[in-house]
Symmetry: C3
Subunit: 261 residues, 3 copies
């Protein structure tokens, strides 16, 4: 594992700590490192949930590395530019495609592809002083790709304000418009994340994997197709040992013991 | 009509009272009873609006009956499982497809397919102590189908929190994220529902039917198709006697007298 | 330019003032006048942002002119009806398709196609006493077309309440549900609009045009297509002089000087 990304596993949680300070930008190296860890985590049965956070209190993630981008432009290296944005989109899709819930723990500022990263995680909690922006327009490089993820979690009017003006919004506004689940007191964020992880770790990993996949798939279908698909998923889910165990435990008023297979 | 579902008609409003206490679960029998009443209401010209509520103060609806589900699993009766989820999806689609507005009046807790029922109604009002959850993950049976309805009325981040953690949210949060229209003081909920019903009863039933249908249809179309379709609906709407009467009444500054045909 | 629509250009901002008082209705003439100005603005390199407002403090825009509509109905002139709704849809789509950001500045009430106009603008700011309604159902003419625009910026539950009951919502609610960006004190609205315009005027017009177009296009695509499309837009954006200038200025910690071509 590279130094720019630290991974610590504890109590079935994988903490991925962005550690390319001060900017924590999504260089090609950083995105490859994240993807590599996600691939490893996907197959790691000891891991039940992933937290993405920053080694810095002031910057969560600043998006693409502009020096890297500029160098590709100066060398007229269109293939590398394509590869860069492709890698970024793949990483965001991999987060949604991962078989385990992914939580963004945000301190400091999340900008451009950094805000996209927050939006792409299944859950996101930010400290009260965290900030969020899609400021590409200020640099002449519109946040085209970040808007894909962010506009799928917030409404169109606040999205356009973020895109056209490029100013940061604070954590309370981010919560109100739905970009993060909750804005939490600075000194309570660790505890909030622990609590959410603990709750998720109580579930069957297999059921979480199935549910996460079906949720994102149905979200792109018309209503009737979505019902056909998820009804079939319900029947499929009932074939799992953990459904049998969970329902029995509920009826017997005891805690379930998951087999996770 | 079965005892598990009571229907009372008053002042052009049909009140469907879920009465299979204590859980008010959506057994196959309950869903068939609801569908039968909805079919009857659809053709009943005296009914202008439908309210779905519970005979209990503490449970609105607890979703599928887990004993019924478990029995189907134990008997390896996949056909019955398919029929169960199909009946549920059909019921939810029938609410949207009904020619009259349907209002959820929520006291107590609405969980899993019960939360799906709230989301599927055109309007929903809950008492301040009402609660909402998609807790299937706690039983090893992910809320695949409930997520279809709920995710079409709330944002993705609060949806994922409800799905992955499975904890109930309170009425004020449900209002903030858009799952219900309003959280109302316990002793004011009856009056709120009466007022909403009274206002809807003042409209032309025919126009409401046309509008409700066009709204849900356009909501699944790309923008340009949606405009083509709804523009044609506008022209069609203008051929109705009630449009003529309504516009004339507006211009003449008098109350309209609907013909409803 | 017609008297019913006044245009004033100042500091690279085009102010379109609806001036067909008292109702400021969207007659065929008004919609043609607006479209004509939008066409002219689209090609006018001195204009960087558009504000749509009303000459009245009490009415922003009351939607279609019901006398005009009634006359078409009485004459059984279906072609004119089709043309009217087609012109309206085209105007709304033109606002989204315009190469420059369009801001609704709302004082007073915005009803039916007037609320649609607010929803169709990229940004919207309203005074605290502004109101918003889709009240067609009260006249027997459901707000089919307005629902297209409004339901793409607010959630389904508040949308259905507006459509089925037809009552106005106030500015604070409009902000909460996402119909407007912000509800502003009456005497602070001018300043708010000036500030937003000033901020947008600091951006590259060319980049804004490209970004606005890509945003609306991607918003109608499935996630994976949206990423493919916007990734290509990123690479395309990097070929612009202004991207080069903006990124260089950012790295050099100086203000960018846009070429806008």
């Amino acid at each position: 594992m590279s130094d720019i990304l630290k991974r610590t596993d504890k109590d079935n949680v994988a903490y991925l700590v962005l550690n390319d300070l001060p900017a924590n930008s999504l260089t090609m190296s950083m995105m490859q490192a994240i993807q590599q860890e996600l691939k490893s985590i996907d197959e790691d049965k000891t891991i039940r949930v992933v937290v993405i956070e920053s080694a810095s209190e002031s910057i969560f993630c600043s998006g693409h590395n502009l020096k890297e981008v500029k160098s590709m432009v100066e060398q007229q290296d269109v293939q590398s530019q394509k590869a860069l944005f492709s890698e970024c989109s793949n990483m965001m899709k991999r987060i949604q495609g991962l078989s385990k819930p992914v939580i963004a723990k945000v301190k400091g500022i999340a900008t451009a592809a950094g805000a996209q990263l927050v939006a792409s995680c299944d859950l996101a909690y930010g400290s009260l002083d965290s900030k969020y922006a899609t400021p590409g327009v200020n640099l002449g490089l519109f946040c085209h790709t970040p808007s894909v993820a962010v506009s799928r979690v917030i409404g169109r009017k606040p999205m356009m304000e973020m895109l056209l003006i490029g100013a940061p919004i604070d954590a309370e506004k981010a919560q109100k418009i739905g970009l993060i689940n909750e804005a939490v007191e600075q000194n309570a964020l660790d505890q909030k994340i622990s609590q959410v992880c603990k709750e998720i770790c109580l579930k069957s990993s297999q059921v979480l994997a199935m549910g996460k996949k079906s949720f994102y798939r149905q979200s792109e279908m018309p209503l009737s197709d979505a019902y056909d698909y998820t009804s079939a998923q319900m029947v499929e889910n009932l074939t799992l040992n953990d459904a049998n165990e969970g329902i029995s435990a509920f009826i017997d008023k005891r805690n379930p013991e998951w087999k996770d297979n």
